[in-house]
């Protein structure tokens, strides 16, 4: 009988032995340095989107005619005072001057005047998530009546930093909500297509090919143009999201279908059927967990596409309209050459878009590699 128990030793790699597939994926992901850094950046960006009101130094809608196209100010740390050196953040006060010949306005820093900055200072009152009133800002001038423009001001003298932070909420959430819609549509139709096969599969795939063959931007434009102008910003916001995800779901549906087709012929799925599992249990208990990691990776890669789509639409003036703030809407301010020539910092929302999209792409790549270590 010695043969019967010959298998009674297990390899002593206990950490990996009882590790679930998700845990193994995390261990592989952690080895991917760039993706791990991207994960941290992504988390930070989403935290910003979540905590817009306290993080923005000013109310992003507060305009001031005195600071039209105010350029970005340099941040100083070392203050030479009469009592010696003091380290605290401050900027120089500035005053408006006019060129005697051209009469062009420009701001002249005044080194004698220091605007002290601090953390957790009192400033413009706000309602966090439209619920909790407050006036504490993470960062801003110590004196609430002072102004500071670290990233400059726009044509109405509104603080660009505050506006970029405020735009993050709309731009990032539109990515999430849009991907959420795409995911539901994609899993439903992709799953149907892959699991049932046959005619259903043929029909769904042809529809997907049709949608993919449409030139995206004109279609978005047409759909967005069809929106009534008098809708509230929230209604427009959700409709724009839907419009974007109407195209976005097709890619996800294809990924899901491919994985379903591959999984359907796996022996362990046959084994589950022989074990007496019904169709629902086979799909949800045996097939979907194997898909989850791939879906997460595809979703992460789909979010930046959504963000870019929203940015393009709003830039073209057919997405969200001012006064709504999104990165695309902010960039629409930088549409003409004159304003870029006078105030190049109006393009800074584009930098925010680029950083976010890159971070999400690196993260998605890392997740995909971690989910499927044999792909390369």
């Amino acid at each position: 009988m010695s043969d019967i128990t010959a298998g009674a030793t297990l390899p002593q790699t206990s950490r990996y032995a009882t590790a679930s597939e998700a845990r193994l994926m995390w261990l592989r992901f952690r080895r991917h340095r760039l993706a791990f850094a991207a994960l941290i950046v992504t988390i930070l960006i989403y935290l910003v989107a979540l905590l817009v009101e306290p993080l923005a130094p000013f109310n992003p809608d507060k305009s001031n005619g005195r600071y039209v196209y105010h350029p970005p100010q340099r941040l100083h740390l070392i203050d030479h005072t009469a009592n010696g050196i003091r380290i605290h953040p401050y900027v120089f006060g500035e005053h408006l001057a006019r060129d005697p010949v051209t009469l062009a306005a420009h701001y002249v820093p005044d080194p004698s005047q220091h605007v002290a900055l601090g953390f957790f200072v009192r400033g413009d009152p706000y309602r966090l998530w439209n619920l909790f009133p407050g006036n504490i800002h993470f960062f801003g001038p110590v004196n609430p009546r002072d102004t500071v423009f670290l990233l400059g001001a726009d044509r109405l003298g509104r603080d660009m930093l505050s506006r970029i932070i405020a735009g993050a909420r709309v731009s990032l959430s539109i990515g999430l909500v849009g991907v959420g819609c795409s995911l539901i549509l994609g899993i439903f139709f992709g799953g149907l297509s892959g699991y049932l096969g046959g005619r259903v599969d043929w029909f769904i795939q042809r529809v997907i090919e049709f949608i993919l063959s449409l030139p995206t931007i004109p279609v978005w434009l047409a759909l967005a143009a069809a929106l009534p102008k008098d809708w509230s910003p929230v209604a427009t916001y959700f409709t724009i999201t839907l419009i974007i995800s109407l195209v976005g779901w097709t890619e996800l549906a294809r990924v899901v279908r491919g994985r379903f087709l591959a999984l359907r012929s796996e022996t362990f799925v046959t084994a589950a059927w022989l074990d007496g599992c019904g169709q629902g249990r086979i799909i949800f208990r045996h097939m979907l967990p194997s898909l989850a990691s791939h879906i997460i990776a595809s979703v992460t890669l789909a979010i930046p596409m959504m963000i870019l789509a929203e940015t393009s639409l709003s830039f073209l003036g057919l997405g969200l309209q001012p006064p709504a703030i999104s990165w695309g809407a902010l960039l629409s301010e930088a549409q003409n050459v004159t304003s870029i020539a006078t105030a190049p910092w109006l393009l800074l929302p584009g930098v925010a878009v680029a950083i976010t999209v890159l971070a999400l792409n690196f993260l998605g790549d890392g997740l995909r590699d971690a989910a499927d270590p044999h792909a390369h």
Partner: protein, 577 residues
């Protein structure tokens, strides 16, 4: 570690003049993957000598480093592996010996030797041949690349080589693509390619493992014939002790990267020195054609499964461009009975329809015609292939399946406990603590340790995974288990263990088995009766003893003749026409 120092001595040769025959002398070769303490030694301190006209077999189980040793010789170790120590002296015809280990892997000198002096044949001929080039050109290319012939003479030589490897109609075959060839033909073409430049050493890395036994015998005979004609030194890598016994002159036994024994073949089989070699030989002989079988003594009960005229036909492929192909008969008119308590074997080569038939019996596939009548435990007779798919659940409770690939048949996202408990849960038999207790009993009954439950399948070896699959099959107290090539993916020492496990469980649980296999040794060891299949049809049905000792059908006879016997004293395989 299993290795016993000092290193096993090279086999003694009686003829001192033979020193001039040495083609390759490997001393202390070590190949490793990775750096530092985490490095994996794929081959550790390997030494051997290959002589002209002789065959050296490197034998070992998967992961023993036999392939890495062979690849090291040609400096084609896959990245990040590299040779870290040792010398490999190659003795060219009329020049000073070259140490292959010192040559840079991408240099000119090793390239001049690769293919021209030392040629290699790989396991899977389909992946080693380029799918988009014609066979003739693939053979001729080596000659042109080595500057040994212009294109026209190279093509003529290629046709000549195809004739030499016994491919019928060589001139026409040279113009074909690899996918138009069968597995055996492709391997012949690979050998022709290896021989194109007239090498002095042929390295064959498991060249027959992917082939059927009858084809294997043909390829082995071909290699022997060419060796005699050209005086090649052959380095043959295999895991099959039967093949070793039939073709080897010298044998190198490897285990976990180390050489555990190095001896002449007669001596090794007669008097194995190392315990691992002994285990390997014992395991091979146990499943050999001369060993006493372990199958249960039975008094056949009433038939529990009546299979009548089962046919599965795949409809004709209609294509817009090509001529419509005729329908394919995967299984045609198969009828047999399975009696309660017996073990029935279904044996056949690849493409014989044995797996398709197994899937038809349990309704994973729906046969296009015929009947499978199953008598349930309560005496009720059901028509497995006629009933509604949803009504199959009680049948599947009594009739279970064990699959070929233990890696693919376990859900990687479920723990062993969940996998084994799933059928019990699905049939609503037990839940909660009682379920966990039952799963623990099941795991213990297949010889798995107590702490296996919460682990995931990736934490187990191949043999242990197959035990998990068996535990899942046993979970519902079945009466019949269909095991489809259940031991084929396992090393030979594990095969016997799994079969013994099934045999030990059989009387306790009152089981019957249908064992599907291409391996006559396994069938003979395990089964009371055999169904021999060929091209979808039954050739012969009968008692195992009768079929193995007195086969009446020519196909069965050929099949039996092609089984390589693990006894170098009886070399019947190469002696055949």
């Amino acid at each position: 570690m299993l290795i016993s120092k000092p290193r096993p001595a090279a086999p003694m040769r009686a003829d001192p003049a033979a020193e001039g025959d040495v083609l390759l002398s490997v001393r202390g070769l070590s190949t490793q993957f990775g750096h530092g303490p985490a490095a994996l030694r794929a081959a550790n301190d390997v030494s051997f000598t290959l002589r002209r006209g002789r065959t050296l077999c490197i034998v070992g189980e998967s992961g023993s480093g036999k392939s890495m040793t062979a690849r090291s010789i040609l400096q084609i170790v896959p990245h990040p592996g590299r040779i870290v120590a040792g010398e490999m002296l190659y003795y060219p015809q009329d020049a000073a010996p070259v140490d292959l280990a010192r040559l840079p892997p991408h240099g000119k000198r090793i390239r001049a030797i690769r293919g021209r002096e030392i040629a290699m044949v790989f396991q899977e001929p389909m992946t080693s041949l380029s799918p988009i080039h014609r066979i003739g050109w693939q053979i001729a290319e080596g000659l042109v690349a080595h500057g040994m012939a212009d294109r026209r003479t190279a093509m003529a030589r290629a046709i000549d080589l195809l004739r030499q490897v016994e491919i019928p109609n060589p001139a026409e075959a040279a113009g074909r693509f690899p996918f138009e060839f069968s597995g055996g033909m492709r391997q012949r073409a690979m050998i022709a390619m290896a021989l194109a430049c007239g090498p002095r050493i042929l390295i064959a890395d498991e060249p027959t493992t992917a082939l059927d036994v009858t084809t294997q015998a043909e390829i082995l005979r071909l290699i022997r014939k060419l060796q005699e004609e050209e005086g090649l030194g052959v380095l043959f890598i295999t895991h099959d002790m039967g093949v070793v016994a039939q073709i080897a002159d010298d044998v190198l036994v490897m285990y976990r990267g180390e050489v555990v024994e190095y001896a002449e073949v007669q001596q090794l089989f007669a008097n194995p020195q190392h315990s691992y070699t002994q285990r390997l030989l014992e395991a091979s002989r146990k499943l050999g054609m001369a060993a006493p079988p372990a199958r249960p003594a039975i008094t056949p009960g009433p038939p529990m499964l009546r299979v009548r005229d089962v046919t599965l036909t795949y409809p004709a492929q209609r294509s817009f461009f090509a001529r419509p192909k005729p329908p394919t008969h995967a299984v045609r008119g198969v009828s047999f009975d399975l009696f309660e308590g017996e073990n029935l074997g279904i044996v056949g080569e690849s493409g014989s329809g044995k797996t398709t038939l197994g899937n038809c019996l349990i309704r994973v596939l729906q046969p296009s015609a015929g009947q499978v009548q199953y008598t349930m435990r309560d005496g009720q007779v059901v028509d497995v292939d006629g009933m509604h798919r949803k009504a199959l659940r009680p049948v599947h409770r009594e009739m279970r399946m064990v699959f070929q690939d233990p890696f693919a048949s376990l859900n990687p996202r479920m723990t062993v406990e969940q996998v084994v408990g799933e059928p019990i849960l699905m049939h609503g038999l037990l839940a909660g603590a009682a379920l966990r207790q039952r799963v623990r009993e099941l795991l213990a009954s297949v010889g798995l340790p107590e702490d296996a439950g919460p682990r995931y399948p990736h934490a187990f070896s191949g043999g242990q995974r197959q035990r998990i699959v068996i535990a899942r099959a046993l979970a519902l107290d079945p009466r019949l288990i269909i095991a489809d090539e259940a031991t084929s993916a396992l090393d030979v020492t594990l095969r016997g263990q799994i079969l013994d496990l099934l045999l030990a469980l059989q009387p306790k649980l009152g089981l019957s088995f249908i064992l599907i296999s291409h391996d006559l040794g396994v069938i003979r060891y395990f089964c009371n009766r055999v169904v021999v299949m060929y091209r979808g049809e039954i050739v012969e049905v009968g008692d195992t003893d009768k079929i193995c000792d007195h086969p009446t059908q020519p196909y069965t006879q050929a099949l039996l003749r092609a089984v390589p016997e693990a006894d170098p004293a009886r070399r019947a395989l190469l002696a055949q026409p």
